[in-house]
């Protein structure tokens, strides 16, 4: 795919409308049948600075961003100077004619002539791009009609006119840019970013409570839920802080709500005591942790994968948990769904680790089949004998029948102290051991239910690129490039990073010729976790922690550097 994909980068200051152009084009491309991956790179400010919106499109499939730029839409003069070095051999720069191209190949767009008002520059840029990509204009004009429907016919007409003029103008330039091949996808596709997919998966699983404190890049999960809250009957409350957010969620959960909490590393750090409470109360809660580079405030709007250890050990004392790490949109949806079920099934805190890259990465995905989703475990609103009801009844699985307060005469007593099976605090140290063993037994069930890592390609004698979460796409493309170069290559992707079941992946690792862990952190957190759990040591580690997502080229460069 590397050869036929087109990478379009739109750059400019925050507030200049680059996201508008990008989202229009992305949606039009998807409707036309292209596969896309969007990468949004922006700064922690509201206006100004320099941001980019990159769309990589491919007629068949595309899984990751790339560094090399084929079409650079420069909304500000800075854009060209920042990105010039990344222009591909066939690249065109599309800049305002007034600013000029500074010698770069491309088109100086006469925005002034094409647009009656600066407001319409977005439409002009779309027209130029549409023409260069040989996109059927209907895809964009249809979108224009939809998006401006509420503004009336005059506005629609004005926008259409600018768009058409820009297309015409571009056609007349005879620019030397080869159209991408016609798209291969058929049937309706959705355009979602990772956080939207997560939110929708959670809603599908019945999440109906969301307490939160805003924090990038975790907020957009919540925003998606808010946007659908009325339709889906979700109670949403902005809490006074992250501590309140998770405690409210646990309160709600204890009363039968299915809660979701979403935050980033710093906000999650404040929830650590609450996570331990969830473990002790055995009360389900799903926490989405959208990673960004730390420590502390770090780079609030960039990406990283460095909070695995934090999430794995968050909470004082010992208790079981599960951690999912989706790698693409479909996994975002389905693992959010599964996270809710897992939390309910094991009455435990369950985590979804995502990151800024995936959170903001718009992509195409086939519509989800809602009817095929398995049922989600639910607490009891009835038991036969409420008299003897004990919330923490000791069972072989460690999971106790979970009754809800108010639905029967059975009393539900939850206690953060060590407690007897009926939930009341105890200082009996034999009971302590019984209860701790009971809670920890749930780890067995969690392990049985754990998803094995996915193997993409044949590991036998191959270079195996292991990864987790959002790194999937870049690893897949890197493996493809290696194969194109004649080297056997495969990918081992962990979409669930805890619990790890060694038998599920050790044979795969053993079959490979060399094994490389690719992680967006410094320490190689999953690599060393695997060593701890299995003794297996990877041959090499490819790390990235500059705030940007992995690309195939980045991985391959590091492999070459390491002389691997």
């Amino acid at each position: 795919m590397a050869a036929v994909s087109v990478n379009i980068v739109i750059g400019g200051a925050a507030g200049q409308g680059l996201v508008t152009v990008g989202e229009f084009l992305a949606r039009a491309l998807i409707r036309a049948g292209y596969a896309i991956v969007v990468t949004q790179d922006y700064q922690s400010r509201v206006r100004g600075g320099h941001n980019t919106f990159a769309i990589r499109l491919d007629p068949e499939r595309v899984s990751a961003p790339t560094d090399s730029i084929d079409l650079l839409v420069a909304l500000s003069a800075e854009t060209l100077s920042i990105h010039r070095s990344k222009l591909s051999a066939r690249a065109l720069v599309l800049a305002d004619a007034a600013t000029g191209l500074d010698g770069a190949p491309g088109l100086g767009i006469p925005y002034k002539n094409l647009c009656p008002k600066p407001l319409y520059e977005n439409m002009a840029a779309l027209g130029v791009l549409g023409a260069l990509l040989c996109l059927d204009p209907a895809w964009i004009t249809g979108l224009i009609r939809e998006k401006f429907a509420h503004k009336g016919e005059a506005v629609i007409a004005a926008n259409l006119a600018v768009f058409a003029a820009a297309m015409d103008w571009t056609a007349a330039q005879n620019a030397a840019f080869a159209c991408p091949a016609p798209p291969a996808k058929t049937g309706s596709r959705l355009m979602l970013n990772g956080n939207e997919a997560l939110a929708l998966g959670a809603l599908a699983a019945g999440v109906n409570f969301c307490s939160f404190y805003p924090m990038t890049p975790g907020t957009s999960v919540v925003q998606t839920i808010i946007d659908q809250a009325d339709a889906m009957g979700v109670v949403v409350e902005q809490a006074e802080d992250e501590i309140a957010a998770i405690i409210m969620a646990l309160g709600a959960s204890s009363a039968g709500a299915r809660p979701l909490v979403s935050t980033a590393g710093g906000g999650f750090a404040l929830m650590v005591e609450g996570v331990s409470l969830a473990g002790m109360l055995e009360t389900p809660v799903v926490v989405v942790v959208a990673q960004r580079p730390g420590p502390a405030t770090g780079l609030p709007t960039r990406t990283e994968q460095a909070d695995l250890d934090l999430v794995l050990y968050a909470g004082h004392g010992e208790f079981p948990r599960a951690i999912f790490a989706p790698g693409d949109l479909s996994q975002c949806f389905h693992l959010a769904y599964r996270a809710v079920d897992t939390a309910e099934r094991f009455q435990s805190p369950v985590f979804v680790l995502t990151d800024q890259f995936l959170a903001d990465s718009l992509r195409d995905v086939a519509p989800f089949d809602l009817t095929a989703l398995p049922p989600v475990v639910r607490p009891l609103t009835h038991v036969d004998d409420t008299a003897g009801y004990e919330r923490y009844a000791v069972t072989p699985s460690g999971v106790s029948p979970r009754l809800l307060p108010g639905f029967t005469e059975g009393l539900v007593v939850l206690d953060s102290d060590e407690h007897t099976p009926d939930g009341h605090l105890t200082e009996d140290l034999a009971v302590r051991v019984t209860m701790q063993d009971k809670r920890l037994r749930k780890a067995d069930g969690l392990a049985q239910a754990a998803l094995p890592p996915d193997v993409y390609g044949d590991p036998a004698g191959a270079t195996l690129l292991a990864c987790w979460g959002s790194t999937l796409g870049a690893a897949l493309e890197a493996a493809e490039v290696l194969r194109e170069r004649g080297e056997a290559a495969c990918v081992l992707h962990f979409s669930q990073v805890w619990p790890l079941v060694p038998d599920a992946f050790l044979p795969t690792l053993a079959a490979a010729r060399r094994t490389v862990m690719v992680e967006g952190n410094c320490a190689g957190q999953l690599a060393r976790l695997i060593r701890r759990e299995t003794g297996f040591v990877f041959n090499a580690l490819v790390r990235r922690y500059d705030g940007l997502p992995f690309t195939a080229a980045f991985i391959l460069d590091r492999l070459t550097e390491a002389g691997q």
Binding site: M232, I243, G256, P259, L370, P405, T408, L414, D415, S416
Partner: protein, 279 residues
């Protein structure tokens, strides 16, 4: 029928002579008077001596973390508005560790009742100053006296137009019972700060000290007069008023969900529509 017996009898971990016992008596009397069946009531609490109280009543209990009784109670009420939700905890828990939740809960005005056992000390951890310990009062950890001005929860709550603001005293069980009944009936957030002698660690604000100072507010006090309420809230010295200081007609937090969230299944048709919108 709900009787005092419905709420059970328990052995406690409290010190003999502690004011907590009387507060428990008043709580049970109030629940009985309200005719609330135990399984329709949830008590949320934090950590401390006071926070153990819900373990000593036959009700649903969410005994969570130190300082966090209010957000837990809020979550419970939001998930199931049919439940009567009370938060019961100590002064340290409610105004110290939990100070931010106190402010937020007053602002929300959600229909829950907070009963704060105010012994003006950290009891369970053996006698450090609490937010309500008077400035200058010596403790083991504050040998030169508490360095900060005491927090006045009632004055702050009145200023913030809290739903229902009252002060009780563990030494006046009958009066306290009435306050709890009224607080639970009030639609919105109700705060009852209950003065409670700690016989083990507070040797200043003793039963006798409170007894000498506390008086019941009479009919002449108008709990809808903010200035009067504030004046009474500030009265904490030679005389300490007991009673409902302030009642607001602010609407309670809402709308709450029409049915308990537990029985609400996801609307797959609505979701399908939503997904279609992403095409």
């Amino acid at each position: 029928m709900t009787t005092a017996n419905s709420y059970g009898a328990f052995e406690t971990a409290w010190c003999p002579g502690c004011g907590n016992f009387s507060i428990r008596t008043a709580v049970v009397a109030a629940l009985t008077e309200l005719g609330l069946p135990p399984h329709k009531v949830v008590f949320s609490s934090g950590i401390g001596q006071a926070a153990k109280a819900p373990h000593y009543i036959r009700v649903n209990v969410f005994n969570g973390l130190h300082g966090r009784s209010l957000p837990a109670a809020t979550g419970i009420k939001l998930a199931n508005p049919e439940l009567t939700v009370l938060a019961e905890s100590g002064d340290g828990c409610s105004y110290g560790e939990g100070g931010n939740h106190f402010l937020a809960t007053v602002r929300r005005n959600i229909d829950i009742t907070a009963i704060v056992h105010d012994n003006q000390i950290y009891g369970l951890t053996k006698g450090q100053a609490s937010p309500t310990t008077p400035k200058g009062q010596k403790t083991k950890t504050q040998p030169h006296g508490a360095p900060s001005a005491a927090f006045n929860p009632l004055a702050v709550a009145v200023t913030m137009d809290a739903g229902f603001v009252a002060r009780g005293f563990s030494g006046d069980i009958e009066h306290l019972t009435g306050l709890i009944v009224a607080a639970v009936r009030h639609p919105g957030f109700s705060l009852i700060d209950v003065l409670q002698p700690c016989v083990s660690f507070n040797k200043v604000n003793t039963y006798a000290w409170y007894k000498e100072r506390c008086y019941r507010l009479g009919e002449e006090h108008d709990p809808t007069d903010r200035q009067a309420a504030l004046a009474r809230a500030m009265e904490f010295g030679e005389r300490i008023p007991l009673g409902v200081l302030w009642k607001s007609d602010r609407p309670a937090f809402g709308p709450l969900p029409p049915t308990p969230l537990a029985v609400q299944e996801p609307d797959k048709a609505a979701l399908a529509d939503i997904l279609a919108g992403y095409a």
